[in-house]
């Protein structure tokens, strides 16, 4: 992870050189742990009136758009939404796929980067992992909204009815249910485990209701050798085990479509294509969250620095390229096959009334990320990455919109083709977005957003070492 700027061998004044490193790298800019604790606690406690204003507005929005509108839909039926024949699935499933996609970033950062010991992950693993849990909650909302008789949704649980009839495990939706449940539980536990030491830290620095709150959540953690060992073992297992779960979740989500005998959907590449798509939108969301956290929360400029944006930007570029590769792969195979219906579908995507969306998807998912992220300086700019992340998310939402309701227009019965026009689900979608932000805002005030102990561990492991005239960053493996 060494950021070697002096490839040309020009030696700078040593002192300023180190200063330069320190400015750039959180890991080389250590601070006493107590000070960092204070900063994190301070960030958690400092709440401006603006925060409450936004919070209140979002809460009202959640109450109206999510709960009230959903209630209306439950009472009146799905007729208030835009779903029809043949677009039986609409924005509900677009949002489900979208939120599950968002949730993938958390796991990617906290598991894959942990396994591969990408050190820059340290300050924002929690921020990312929170997205997993909160995103999955929104995905859950979206998928339950989608059901015609949501009050009977417990019939899908793996429990028998009074006649010993269990759910149908032939159905991709049953797989989905198991996979999403596994993923939600797994990622929540994985969020919680590394949080315990920080909760203990917060417990030690709070009083009043917060003290009780953290005391209960910290479970009595002190940091004894045994506790650390169990925790680290568990985290290791989680880091490895959650990765296949993550891959399976979005693969199974893609199978909801790929198992169907529909033109455009029946594709073997959908699994990895969806996983990459999920990471694409997820990483976009991570940079957005980091930019907001850095910009709005106290003391966060210390923890979250341009180097992090730079590193994530690089990942985003790679993921964007992979997404482009999978997209092209899917497109080419469908195109080359020459099936009558698939051809109509591809034509519909590009030349149909929603063709603009297809082109916007390519612009946002490929053209803009490639154009911006190749440049190290550009991808170190938080606001720019925020914008790119936003566009990627819009583009990825478009991608799911194209795959679901727009593709559903075209089937093998041209007599039934009809365009989907969203109804109440727009409100419900806004509701899930508001709820996601609301949960995030609440979390930012309730749990330490920065895993301080992990940052300290990282700072301990980093040092500068001179090789001849060159000073480089070295990392020692502490675990």
């Amino acid at each position: 992870m060494a950021d070697n700027q002096n490839r040309n061998g020009v030696a700078h004044d040593n002192g300023s050189h180190e200063e330069h490193f320190r400015e750039k790298h959180l890991m080389l800019d250590p601070m006493p742990r107590g000070k960092m604790n204070e900063m994190v606690m301070d960030a958690m406690h400092t709440t401006s009136w603006k925060f409450w204003l936004v919070f209140g507005m979002l809460a009202a929005l959640v109450a109206y758009a999510l709960f009230y509108k959903w209630g209306v839909m439950i009472l009146e039926g799905l007729g208030v939404a835009g779903v029809n024949r043949p677009a039986y699935w609409g924005i509900f499933l677009v949002n489900t796929v979208f939120w599950i996609g968002i949730s993938h970033a958390g796991t990617f950062i906290s598991a894959i980067l942990r396994v591969f010991k990408a050190e820059y992950r340290r300050p924002f693993t929690r921020a990312a992992e929170l997205m997993t849990t909160f995103g999955l909650i929104q995905a859950g909302f979206s998928i339950f909204m989608h059901m015609g008789r949501v009050w009977l949704s417990y019939w899908l649980m793996p429990i028998p009815n009074q006649r010993e009839l269990w759910p149908n495990f032939h159905s991709p939706l049953s797989w989905d249910l198991l996979a999403i449940t596994t993923y939600l539980l797994g990622s929540t536990m994985y969020l919680f485990l590394p949080l315990i030491p920080d909760l203990a830290m917060a417990r030690d620095r709070s009083d009043g209701w917060r003290k009780t709150f953290y005391k209960v959540l910290a479970l009595g953690f002190r940091g004894t050798e045994g506790e650390w060992v169990h925790l680290r073992n568990a985290m290791n297992i989680f880091a490895f085990a959650i990765i296949p779960v993550m891959f399976s979740v979005h693969t199974i989500v893609s199978w909801d479509f790929a198992m169907a005998t529909r033109p455009g959907w029946s594709s073997t590449v959908f699994g990895p294509y969806f996983v990459i798509g999920a990471l694409h939108s997820g990483m976009g969301a991570v940079v957005m969250v980091l930019a907001v956290v850095r910009g709005t929360m106290k003391n966060m400029k210390y923890f979250i620095r341009p180097e992090h944006f730079e590193a994530i930007g690089k990942l985003m570029l790679i993921i964007s390229m992979s997404w482009g590769y999978f997209f092209f792969n899917d497109y080419l195979v469908q195109w080359y096959g020459g099936d009558k219906w698939t051809k109509q579908l591809l034509h519909w995507h590009e030349a149909g009334p929603m063709g603009w969306m297809w082109f916007a998807m390519l612009l946002f998912n490929v053209v803009i990320p490639w154009g911006v992220l190749w440049n190290r300086k550009w991808r170190s700019m938080p606001w720019l990455l925020f914008t790119v992340g936003l566009l990627i998310n819009v583009g990825m939402w478009f991608e799911r919109y194209i795959i679901i309701p727009i593709s559903l227009t075209i089937n093998r019965m041209p007599f039934t083709w009809r365009l989907y026009e969203p109804g109440i689900e727009v409100w419900l979608g806004i509701g899930t977005l508001a709820f996601f932000i609301l949960l995030y805002m609440a979390a930012s005030k309730l749990i330490p957003l920065i895993p301080v102990w992990e940052v300290q561990e990282g700072q301990m492991a980093h040092s500068l070492k001179k090789f001849g005239r060159e000073t480089v960053v070295t990392v020692s493996e502490l675990e």
Binding site: M189, Y190, L193, T224, N233, I237, P244, S248
Partner: protein, 175 residues
């Protein structure tokens, strides 16, 4: 060890003095079993020269995985036979979908038991009074001598000499 007993708690800022102190204490006759290290960051046993900690977490994880596997097998191979229904010309208990169910249940079993393993091994949650000082979460390393040491004063002096920031008698208190 009971909560009423007082123990010596020495707080160090760095790993090196703490490791030295542990070595010296051992020489003073404080048994490893009587010492416990409490730290704000995970300090490995090797760094402090402490014996390896035993953990059941991996075994529990394996056990959970096996249990989950069996649940998956039950769901995909046994439940369809309880009420046989033919769908889409597929067999009652097709293998490919079963792979998915078994995989997910295995992973769920493993993750759940790993998580529970931490709770079991660490006796979480525990809200009883415990010996602890809040400075630990400032990244300090504390050595807790839980058996009555052979010579309390001597130990205290030694610890102070070795660079302990503070040495005190603590009793268990609510965290």
């Amino acid at each position: 060890m009971t909560a009423e007993e007082k123990s010596i708690l020495a707080v160090f800022a760095d790993i090196d003095p703490a490791a030295d102190a542990i070595e010296q204490l051992r020489l003073l006759g404080v048994h490893d079993d009587c010492m416990n290290v409490i730290s704000g960051i995970p300090v490995t046993e090797a760094m402090l020269g402490r014996p390896s900690q035993w953990t059941n977490v991996p075994r529990l994880a394996l056990g959970g995985a096996i249990a989950g596997f069996l649940v998956g097998v039950f769901l995909s191979f046994i439940t369809p036979d309880m009420y046989t229904i033919l769908v889409g010309g597929q067999p009652f208990t097709p293998v490919p979908p079963a792979v998915i169910v078994v995989f997910e249940m295995t992973m769920l079993g493993m993750l759940l038991s790993t998580f529970l393993g931490v709770f079991l091994d660490s006796y979480f949650p525990s809200y009883r009074p415990m010996k602890y000082i809040p400075e630990i979460s400032d990244g300090k390393i504390a050595i807790l001598i839980e058996c009555p040491p052979p010579d309390e004063q001597k130990v205290t002096d030694l610890l102070k000499k070795l660079g302990a920031e503070s040495v005190q008698l603590t009793e268990a208190q609510h965290l």
